[in-house]
């Protein structure tokens, strides 16, 4: 959270672009990371991240400070945008093309990042989880958000988040074990 975040948001709500710029600088990396892990393509992650912040800027007056943190609001926009992205993509791509296309996207992403093979395995395994479990893994274990914050973002109770967290890790581990044994 930014120092004086409440004041900055209030000024951004009054139309001060510079203040929204501060919010952008502070949150853009984590939102980008969240989107990139879910879509596995740098260019598309950049476009989606741009859209998330554009939407946030245009609708900042709808953000109510007393409800939940600004970051949660941004994650909600990002989550919905990624859902829309996959919905549109599904309509535009035939089932046969999906596997190949996905493979190509993942390969490009891998080359660009040039990371260890373990990281690639984990990243690919995350994309095999269902949407909710992906969100939990990214928010809890990569972005290090608290259970309370995740509950606010995902609109679930803290107990449900803890359960999902356990199941997500268990499933991720199963996927990785299966990958290793192949």
């Amino acid at each position: 959270m930014l120092d004086d975040e409440k004041k900055i948001i209030l000024r951004a709500q009054k139309g001060e672009a510079e203040c929204f710029g501060q919010l952008y600088d502070h949150y853009v990396t984590q939102i980008y990371r969240f989107v990139l892990i879910k879509v596995s393509h740098r260019q598309e992650a950049e476009d989606l991240t741009h859209e998330v912040f554009l939407k946030a800027w245009q609708n900042i007056n709808n953000f109510n400070q007393r409800g939940f943190p600004f970051s949660s609001w941004l994650y909600r926009i990002a989550r919905n945008r990624v859902i829309d992205y996959y919905r549109t993509k599904k309509e535009a791509t035939s089932i046969d093309e999906v596997g190949e296309h996905k493979f190509k996207l993942a390969a490009t992403f891998d080359q660009e990042l040039d990371q260890q093979s373990n990281l690639d395995l984990v990243k690919t395994a995350i994309t095999q989880l269902n949407d909710e479990q992906q969100n939990i893994i990214i928010l809890r274990f990569i972005e290090d958000l608290s259970t309370t914050e995740i509950a606010q973002i995902t609109n679930k109770s803290e107990g449900a988040v803890r359960l999902m967290q356990y199941r997500a890790i268990r499933n991720l581990k199963n996927i990785l074990n299966n990958e290793e044994s192949i």
């Binding site: 672009a17 510079e18 740098r42 007056n61 109510n64 893994i137 359960l163």
Partner: protein
Amino acid sequence: MKNLFKNLEDLRGINPDPDFLHRSKTEILATYQTHSSTSFRISQFKNRLVEGLSFAAALGLTSLLLYLTISGLSGSSSTVITQQDKTQFDIQLRDAKYYKEVAPNVYVVVLNENMEEEEFQEELNKLLGK
């Protein structure tokens, strides 16, 4: 994959391209802001109105509950208690049937509900290889 936690942490190293950040931020901030000071005031008023209504609704509900509790106490309590016992017994039977059917998942539920935060974290760490 022994240390899953470390691998997940390493994914924090993903960063956006600085050129993209500069381009995106400049474009967004140059976008015409649809809100004006009037719409800001309207939105603030809307927020306050929603909060006011929520408070009124909470107050109303509390009064209603209080009324029901007080009026319930003065009624015939023995009939109510018998009915309640029967309902609870029915619920317990239904619970037992449900848990039998979902036995494989019960472990996780039990973990969540009966464990202290530390114990739950410990169980999670085992999975994470921490």
